[in-house]
């Protein structure tokens, strides 16, 4: 289990690094666009579209990373009242259900992407596929975290 925890840690650090880069890119782009607009009455063509793409990627991957950190908005009042054994069982069930939802999103994203992924974005002309693909990617990351958490919960004494 130590190995699994190590893999999770390294993977999370890598994702957080990518997230910081994406978010930093987003912030710089928004600030540059504001200064260009008000200072020089000009803009970067497709800048706003790129900002939205960066935002979608940041939000989707960020939401998956939070599963590993167990920081999602949750009502913990009832689960905290349960005995440790039931609590552990319920936690495993929760991660399983979250993984099932993400698996469903992956399953149904492929027919959706194959139908609409060929259309291009309005300004940059990027195929929608490159934006939509973040759904199965982020859901796969979410499933990875769910499975890691389930394995860690199943082997509590070894972690």
């Amino acid at each position: 289990m130590k190995g699994l925890k190590r893999i999770e840690l390294v993977f999370t650090q890598l994702l957080e690094y990518i997230l910081r880069l994406l978010f930093l890119g987003l912030i710089i782009l928004v600030i540059v666009l504001v200064f260009l607009r008000y200072g020089f009455n000009t803009t970067i063509v497709g800048g706003n579209e790129l900002i939205v793409i960066l935002f979608i990627y940041t939000s989707a991957i960020g939401a998956a990373v939070i599963i590993g950190k167990k920081e999602h908005i949750t009502i913990t009042y009832f689960i905290e009242k349960m005995s440790p054994q039931i609590n552990r069982f319920v936690h495993i069930l929760n991660f399983l259900l979250v993984a099932i939802l993400n698996a469903a999103l992956i399953k149904y994203s492929f027919p959706w992407i194959s139908k609409t992924g060929g259309y291009s974005t309005a300004t940059l002309g990027i195929p929608q596929l490159y934006l939509q693909i973040i759904v199965p990617i982020s859901c796969s990351i979410a499933i990875f975290y769910c499975l890691v958490q389930i394995l860690l919960l199943l082997n509590p004494e070894k972690t």
Partner: protein
């Protein structure tokens, strides 16, 4: 429809994150009633993430975090001390004033509790105030953070309700200040009764000039961040970006050359991480609530509720007070962001149907949910307050209860008198 509600309650009780409870509930509904429509699952999820206006969210969060890390709290407390420190219960009054100013900088109640509480709770305890009182006033006054503009929940509501962010910011101004004034009065009454200490404050011109100068960079920030949105100079996203840039520059000035290395190697990466994850936490709720809201629309629930409300033939004020009760109960169990996402599409059409302004409803919703941030078991501020003070959430809640009377009174007044929320926005038509 029953399956949607029952499954959601079960998932929430089981401790499944709110976002995924909404998604699982929607999945169960589609699976049972409309398996052919399951294909829209990823599409609705994606459309929830694909919203330009919501980019303001992580930027406002980052702005608050950066300001928080720049030793601004101590300066604001010193400035507040100058204004109210010399009165009976000075530090309690300082707590309220500092929260009011901080609300205009951070836009978040939890960060307000954390920064002001970390400094003032130990200091108040040292000066002889009961710890319960100190923690209680800290968490109760921090509720202003989400009402006084710029407010992150207001941005979220504005996007869901398709209303002007600027008007909502202005609509929250009077309720926010009212809560502050009422809380100041309650602190004074309790302090006089218990003979809490006054603080020695020098009112010399030199000291006043020094305190105003040292906090001026923080004090002018809300003016141009909110001002740029209100006067239509910038969009909410742009104003948040300007705010981030400003907070970054203030950090450079306040921390000085000696703090540069830490600022770039630790403070900024930490703030970026925190802003991304906090925003993603809200974004996933928005994305998955899109599915839920889509089903509500499919089942015509908002229209049904609106129709029901109209048939009750209640005066708008009575209807609002009924909704306020539901908001207060919901806020006790659900966090602010998911509550906004769930309650807005359900109650806003009913309010509009009886002639209540979306701005007034927004101010009522956020003010009501702010109370939930201080009530057990899920109140964010009360949990942060507990972590800082080491007191149990029950104890803190008992300490905060007298001050929450200010919030409830404000809530009733803004429900009964619409002009309290609509007057300032009407000046900027």
């Amino acid at each position: 429809m029953a399956i949607l509600l029952i499954s959601l309650i079960i998932f929430l009780i089981l401790g499944i994150p709110v976002a995924y409870s909404l998604g699982l509930s929607a999945l169960s509904y589609f699976f049972i009633y409309y398996p052919d429509l399951l294909i829209i699952l990823p599409q609705r999820f994606f459309s929830g993430l694909n919203m330009y206006a919501l980019i303001a969210l992580p930027l406002f969060i980052l702005m608050g975090l950066l300001m928080n890390k720049t030793k601004i709290t101590a300066r604001l407390i010193d400035f507040s001390l100058l204004i109210v420190g010399r009165f009976r219960g000075g530090l309690g009054l300082v707590n309220v004033i500092a929260s009011m100013i901080f609300g205009g900088i951070s836009g978040s109640s939890a960060s307000d509790t954390a920064s002001i509480g970390a400094v003032l709770i130990p200091e108040m305890e040292k000066r002889g105030y009961p710890k319960q009182f100190a923690a209680g006033i800290t968490v109760a006054s921090s509720t202003m953070g989400m009402i006084i503009p710029p407010s992150i929940p207001m941005v979220l509501y504005a996007i869901i309700a398709e209303e002007s962010v600027g008007k909502l910011f202005l609509g929250g101004l009077i309720p926010g200040v009212m809560i502050g004034v009422f809380q100041l009065a309650i602190v004074m009454l309790i302090s006089i009764k218990n003979n809490y200490p006054k603080e020695e404050v020098s009112l010399s011109f030199k000291n006043i000039f020094f305190q105003v100068r040292s906090s001026s960079l923080a004090l002018i920030m809300p003016i141009f961040v909110v001002g740029s949105v209100v006067f239509g100079i910038a969009t909410a996203t742009e104003s948040a970006a300007i705010g981030v840039f400003y907070a970054f520059c203030v950090g450079l000035i306040f921390l000085g050359i000696s703090g540069f290395k830490k600022y770039f190697s630790k403070t900024i990466p930490d703030c970026l991480n925190s802003a991304i994850l906090t925003s993603a936490k809200i974004m996933i709720v928005i994305a998955l609530s899109k599915l839920y809201i889509w089903i509500l629309a499919l089942e015509r629930i908002p229209q049904t509720i609106a129709g029901f409300m109209v048939t009750l033939n209640l005066p708008p004020v009575m209807m609002l007070l009924f909704i306020v009760a539901i908001i207060l109960i919901s806020g006790t169990f659900i966090d602010v962001s998911p509550a906004i996402l769930l309650l807005t599409p359900v109650f806003l059409p009913a309010c509009i149907a009886v002639g209540i302004s979306p701005i007034q409803f927004g101010a009522i919703l956020i003010t009501g949910l702010a109370v939930g941030a201080v009530t057990p078991p899920v109140g964010t501020c009360i949990n942060v307050g507990s972590a800082i003070s080491g007191l149990g959430i029950g104890t803190i809640f008992r300490g905060a209860a007298p001050f929450l009377a200010a919030n409830i009174l404000t809530l009733i007044l803004i429900s009964v008198f619409p002009q309290l929320t609509l007057w300032i926005p009407s000046l900027f038509q």
